[in-house]
């Protein structure tokens, strides 16, 4: 007969990244069993999407992964444009790639900062956010908003990127890699950080695939799977980049994979900024006055690689001006489900670190 301390982590707890609640059973310091309880931020965006025009639905996607809203927008548009039979011009695809990669950098920086906080490192959080702010300044310049950008629209983007903005992005690309390496050294140069992460929360390749884990977490477990390579969308097939893979599967591997992804994003951005062609920045078929009259048909499932993993949008249309059914495959929803497997028989401190390494954004988990 063994008694456990039952403890309730969250939904108001400093390390649950928003509104996650964990029902944990503790044996002293050891976590015997946890059960995540989610839904505190549930808005049922899927139902809301059924009630709104195709063009307006974009705002609900902005608010899903609110630290990387550009990735959400382009994920939705991948599906919506196919449903509406609207082909965006070539220039738009390049602009979207640039915005996606900037957003990915911004998202990973938030993750790195918050992961440091989970481990008790106060300072790198601010370094990460100072860099992220430079990305957000680009977003502000391009659409007037920092977080929920609502920049892309059906058949194009809201506003063309001017030479000034290109210069701004180039200045960022100039300064960012150096700062990134500094931040990287703050983390990896610290022995305590390494000892807190090496060999903690090891996820085997089989468990990862079984639980449907995608994104950096899957790649840290030794699976070379990136939707940008597996099923190229936008113009990712014309860009030269590598998919970082680690075979360790622990927290440190996830950390390293994410940092390498940021470096690859810089690499992609440098190419994309150079290659971006001239042309219109929206398809005239989808000009603003026509937007609510667009009718879709058929059903389409689009996969994109968001900063958290494989982000899928499944739209079923019935020929009306509103979608018949929208389903979102949220990567963090699945990445979170594996935590109860990873955190078993770990210490409380490690459970927090594992939870931090998942990269949770509750707008997306709960939708």
């Amino acid at each position: 007969m063994q008694d456990f301390i039952e403890i309730n982590f969250g939904p108001q707890h400093p390390s649950t990244h928003g509104v996650l609640r964990l029902k944990a059973k503790l044996d002293g310091e050891i976590v015997k069993e946890i059960e995540p309880v989610i839904g505190y931020l549930h808005r049922n965006a899927e139902k809301l999407c059924e009630m709104t025009f195709y063009a307006d639905n974009l705002v609900y996607f902005d608010r899903m992964d609110y630290v990387a809203s550009m990735l959400m927008e382009s994920g939705y548009l991948e599906a919506a444009e196919k449903i509406l039979n609207i082909v965006p011009p070539e220039r738009v695809l390049w602009i979207r790639v640039i915005m996606n990669e900037l957003s990915r950098i911004a998202s990973h920086l938030v993750w790195a900062g918050a992961f440091g906080l989970d481990l008790g490192m106060l300072t790198p959080f601010f370094y990460c956010f100072a860099e992220r702010d430079k990305v957000l300044e680009v977003f502000t310049e391009i659409c007037g908003s920092r977080q929920e950008t609502n920049y892309m629209s059906i058949g194009g983007v809201y506003q063309d990127i001017t030479p000034g903005i290109v210069d701004h992005i180039e200045a960022f690309l100039e300064s960012f890699p150096k700062r990134l390496e500094e931040i990287y050294k703050i983390f990896v140069g610290n022995d305590v950080f390494i000892s807190r992460n090496k060999g903690i929360g090891v996820m085997s390749r089989e468990v990862a695939i079984d639980y449907g884990v995608t994104g950096p977490m899957l790649r840290a477990s030794g699976v070379n799977y990136d939707v940008r390579k597996a099923e190229p969308y936008l113009v990712y097939d014309k860009l030269n980049f590598e998919v970082p893979v680690s075979y360790k599967g622990d927290n440190l591997a996830r950390f390293l994979v994410r940092f390498e992804e940021m470096r690859q994003s810089v690499h992609i951005l440098k190419q994309a900024i150079r290659k971006i062609p001239d042309g219109p920045f929206f398809n005239p078929k989808a000009k603003k006055s026509m937007m609510i009259r667009l009718r879709g048909d058929g059903e389409y499932y689009a996969r994109t690689e968001s900063s958290k993993g494989e982000f899928g949008v499944y739209i079923v249309a019935d020929g009306g001006v509103k979608p018949y059914r929208v389903h979102v495959r949220s990567p963090t929803f699945k990445n979170l489900s594996v935590v109860q497997e990873l955190a078993k028989d770990q210490m409380i401190a490690d459970m927090v670190a594992i939870l931090g390494s998942v990269d949770l954004v509750f707008g997306e988990v709960d939708r």
Binding site: P14, M121, N190
Partner: protein, 346 residues
């Protein structure tokens, strides 16, 4: 000449018993004021320093350069309602923060501060056994923390208290053994090796130079004693919310907060007294207190830098570290200093 005798002379018009009482009273008031003010200054310094490290500005609204921010914060904390948990164990719950503060203030009374111009020695109470007294007082604070953790009847607080106990016993012994080495070396030259004052006065070289292992062990122990990052497992905010002080609010929380900064200041004083020569320095007859202050300030800044740059160590790793590394190191230090004393007579 000391602060006490200066005050005694000042109050001599009251007649003997009264002047004695008045001198003690005012000495205590001075001590409390000085300790509280230096705590406030330390918290201000920490916030400014942290802000600079983190590319921020820090407090800058209340008063010039935000100097009055901490006073405003103290008033805010005093005004705040204290929330009491329903199932608390009432008496221990109430006295726990007070014990932390009392332990802190008592420890400030034992430290010799050196002399300062007209006032002479600023030491409040100079007993012959101040080393023992100091470490006895220092172990009052953890009792307050443990009481707080157990009496709030909160699982987070309980876990925090358990961690605090596990941490305390694993650094306490190495700390005492490294102090033992100092007492051993000092006893070769002074007849009162248990008085911090005479240890510092009679030293030939600062003990930090003679015992490099000792100062490292003692510094780590002092960081763990103050329990800030990397050894803040007891109140680790991302795991246990704030550990044993989870259920405290208002000024009761403020006392724990003051206890944390007070321990840093105290630790810096103690390390600089034992290992860095304390109030020794040029013109130490007049400027002794200033030398001690400068040394302590440097140590405080070093502590803040450690605090801001380290992640938290896991509790089991720290306990391992305490028993498997700190304790043997302290023992080795003891042997080396014993040999050094025998050979050189220092």
């Amino acid at each position: 000449m000391s602060l006490y005798s200066t005050l005694l002379g000042f109050f001599s018009f009251l007649g003997y018993p009264l002047s004695n009482a008045a001198a003690y009273l005012f000495e205590s008031i001075f001590l409390l004021l000085a300790a509280s003010l230096s705590l406030v200054f330390m918290i201000y310094l920490f916030r400014k320093y942290m802000a600079r490290v983190q590319l921020r500005i820090g407090p800058n609204r209340v008063g010039k350069f935000g100097l009055l921010q901490l006073i405003a914060d103290v008033f805010k904390l005093v005004q705040k309602e204290s929330l009491f948990p329903k199932n608390r164990d009432d008496l221990p719950y109430r006295i726990a923060p007070v014990m932390v503060i009392i332990g802190l203030m008592l420890a400030f009374a034992v430290i010799p501060y050196g002399s300062f111009f007209y006032f002479g020695s600023l030491t409040v109470s100079d007993t012959g056994v101040s080393v023992i007294l100091l470490f006895a007082i220092l172990s009052i604070m953890p009792i307050g923390e443990v009481l707080a953790g157990i009496s709030s009847r909160n699982k987070y607080a309980l876990l925090g208290a358990l961690r605090a106990v596990a941490k305390d016993i694993s650094f306490e012994i190495p700390m005492m053994i490294s102090v033992l080495a100092i007492i051993m070396m000092a006893s070769a030259r002074t007849s009162a090796p248990l008085s911090i004052d005479s240890i510092v006065v009679t030293e030939v070289l600062p003990y930090g130079i003679l015992q490099p292992i000792g100062i490292s062990v003692f510094l780590v122990a002092m960081i763990a004693r103050a329990s800030y990052s990397p050894f803040d497992m007891g109140e680790s905010d991302s795991e246990l919310i704030t550990g044993f002080s989870t259920e405290y609010s208002g000024m009761r929380f403020g006392m724990f907060y003051a206890g944390l900064f007070g321990s840093i200041l105290l630790g810096s004083f103690v390390v600089s007294l034992f290992y860095l020569g304390g109030f020794n320095g040029p013109f130490s007859g007049d400027l002794g207190a200033v030398w001690l202050g400068i040394k302590a300030l440097i140590l405080v800044i070093i502590s803040f830098t450690v605090w801001l740059s380290m992640p938290r160590i896991r509790i089991d790793k720290f306990v391992n570290f305490g028993w498997k590394y700190l304790l043997p190191l302290a023992m080795i230090n003891l042997v080396i200093s014993g040999a050094l004393t025998l050979m050189t007579g220092w």
